[in-house]
């Protein structure tokens, strides 16, 4: 799957989880950029991303990923 496609699908997931149609995520997007992205929503987000791509993050990845770019890296490796 191409990175561009990953980001398109991620965008939809983010918009759905945070109920905000104006969200556009990039490699550098972090929890500081999205108002409702706290540690609770993080888990909801992770679950939604897992469902979207049919993958599972391990908890180490969940707690250590720093931005959306890292999330996309993991997805890219997993769905190869």
């Amino acid at each position: 799957m191409e990175r561009k496609e990953i980001f398109e699908r991620l965008n939809n997931v983010f918009r759905d989880v945070f109920d905000d149609e104006s969200i556009v995520v990039t490699d550098a997007t972090t929890s500081n950029d999205i108002e409702d992205w706290d540690s609770l929503e993080h888990i909801n987000l992770i679950v939604a991303v897992e469902q979207e791509f049919g993958i599972k993050f391990n908890m180490g990845e969940v707690t250590t990923m720093k931005n959306v770019g890292e999330m996309a890296d993991i997805i890219e490796n997993r769905v190869k």
Binding site: D19, L40, V47, G60, V62, T63
Partner: protein, 509 residues
């Protein structure tokens, strides 16, 4: 070994001296030897050695096997197996009576004619800390956050590092690896900071907490004599007693570690300045909260069980409501576990579990509503007076829940609450009444001044590190503050019944 005892002082000094004179390669071995001494100081019995070894060996081999078979099914099997062994030991040694009491209640309820007898196991010191710490370690290896420790003695040091055995904080292997096994030089700055922190802890425990304890024990010990206003004061005092004792112990622990150059995670950040119970728990026993979040709450929220419940309610109530339902359910489970961890009795499950959940639940449910109302009627929620009101409200709610925490049984707690409603506020103004509960006028003065000093320091600590600030002051002022702290501990500290230096020095005049 109590942290404020002479024996612990001697023990720590000896450890520190050997730690710094021995070749640096051997420093961690000194720590291990001290830790094992501490671990078995109270009771070197065959049982205790076996209990400790079970946890050490399960964690050590568990982590190695989890790592060896990573990315395979076997890895998960070894993870689950080692957790079951450690958790099983913790549950049996610490919480058997909770199950027995529950079973007896159940039997009574259904008229089953069988009652189990309570059991009593002697559990080794620190069990409820290092069993969770070691579970965290194995899970971190499984999650590839850290590599397993191959040297079993080093693994034993991580598990038994003596300062944290009595009151935490919870430590993580990936953070402690560098701290525990690397070579440390004695450094003047660390020595000063460590010593001041130790004295600050001693001040909180010996000057404040021990004094408050006298009043609390007297009042809670005889609530029909000391009712109404006495109980209100004792309840406030107990919250402060608990905090000064617990956070004071952490100060001593962090101080000793600091001298050795070992940094530990903070466990308290001025919790009484919190505006809500939710915020309070982010500042109180932080490392327990973090442990539960990473190893219970997150996995729980991610679990198929919770997700299925979420999906079920999503169809009925929509996304927003179903999110809240799964959140509250996970929180409820977590708070019950926090209650159980604090001690295997219903008083803890209610006091430090269910009530906290209930407060946070209400805050989350009605928070947005009260924000709207405040906006509509034009209340400035950022004004000092409003913040103060919120802090006081948080303190009162927490103190109320601590009635259960302190009570000997749930019935006792309800009894205490009933006795609050005796109207006798005149004990506050009537000169002698207040001084019949174990503390006299001088004690109250010492308490009030010490508490004010503590709150000022904590208020400052929220903005910047108070020690950094102190070290920037000129030499005279700096040492005046340090001497004031040291002599306050020496003169006003309560070292136990029959030895009260304040009576000794002060009242001789």
């Amino acid at each position: 070994m109590v942290l404020t005892s002479l024996i612990f002082l001697t023990f720590s000094i000896i450890t520190l001296i050997i730690y710094f004179v021995i070749p640096k390669k051997l420093q961690w071995i000194v720590l291990l030897a001290s830790s094992l001494t501490f671990l078995f100081y109270n009771a070197l019995t065959v049982n205790n050695v076996i209990y400790v070894l079970i946890i050490l060996l399960s964690a050590y081999f568990g982590a190695l096997l989890v790592h060896k078979y990573e990315n395979t099914k076997k890895s998960k099997i070894f993870l689950v197996l080692s957790i079951i062994i450690i958790l099983g030991e913790l549950l049996i040694l610490k919480y058997s009576n909770l199950f027995i009491v529950s079973a007896n209640h159940f039997n009574n309820l259904f008229h089953i004619n069988k009652q189990f007898n309570m059991v009593s196991f002697s559990s080794p010191v620190g069990l409820s800390y290092y069993s969770l710490i070691m579970i965290g370690y194995i899970v971190d290896v499984y999650r590839k956050i850290c590599n397993p420790q191959k040297n079993i003695l080093k693994c034993a040091l991580f598990m038994s590092y003596f300062p944290i055995l009595t009151s935490g904080p919870f430590i993580r292997y990936d953070k402690m690896e560098k701290e525990l096994y690397t070579k440390h030089k004695l450094n003047y700055d660390n020595l000063c900071r460590g010593l001041i922190r130790i004295f600050w802890g001693l001040f909180k425990i010996l000057v404040i907490s021990q004094r408050l304890a006298i009043f609390v024990n007297t009042v809670y010990g005889d609530i029909s004599t000391f009712n109404g206003t006495y109980i209100i004061i004792a309840t406030i005092f107990f919250t402060l007693q608990l905090y000064t004792n617990f956070s004071g112990s952490i100060d001593i622990i962090m101080g000793i570690s600091k001298i050795m150059g070992i940094e530990l995670p903070e466990n308290f950040t001025s919790p009484f300045f919190s505006r809500t119970i939710t915020e309070f728990w982010r500042n109180w026993h932080i490392t327990l909260g973090a442990w539960l979040k990473d190893y219970i709450f997150y996995p729980l929220m991610k679990s198929n069980f919770i997700q299925k419940i979420g999906n079920f309610f999503k169809k009925i109530f929509g996304k927003k409501v179903s999110k809240k339902i799964t959140l509250y359910l996970s929180m409820l489970i977590m708070w019950i576990l926090i209650g159980i961890w604090h001690g295997g009795a219903y008083t803890y499950i209610i006091g430090s579990g269910l009530l906290q959940f209930f407060f946070i639940f209400l805050e989350d449910l009605f928070g947005p509503l009260s924000q709207n109302i405040n906006k509509k009627i034009g209340i400035n929620t950022e004004a000092f007076s409003y913040k103060l009101y919120q802090c006081i409200r948080t303190f009162i709610l927490f103190s109320f829940s601590m009635i259960f925490f302190r009570a000997t049984s749930v019935g006792n707690a309800i009894d205490i609450i009933k006795h609050i409603f005796v109207y006798n506020p005149w004990v506050l103004v009537d000169n002698s009444s207040l001084y019949t509960a174990g503390l006299d006028l001088l004690d109250f003065r010492v308490l009030i001044i010490s508490l004010i000093a503590m709150f000022i320091v904590e208020g400052m600590q929220r903005k910047e590190n108070v020690l950094d600030k102190l070290f920037r002051q000129n030499i005279v002022f700096r040492w005046a503050i340090i001497y004031l702290l040291i002599f306050s501990v020496i003169i006003f500290g309560m070292y136990g019944p029959g030895y009260d230096p304040a009576t000794f020095i002060y009242r001789g005049f």
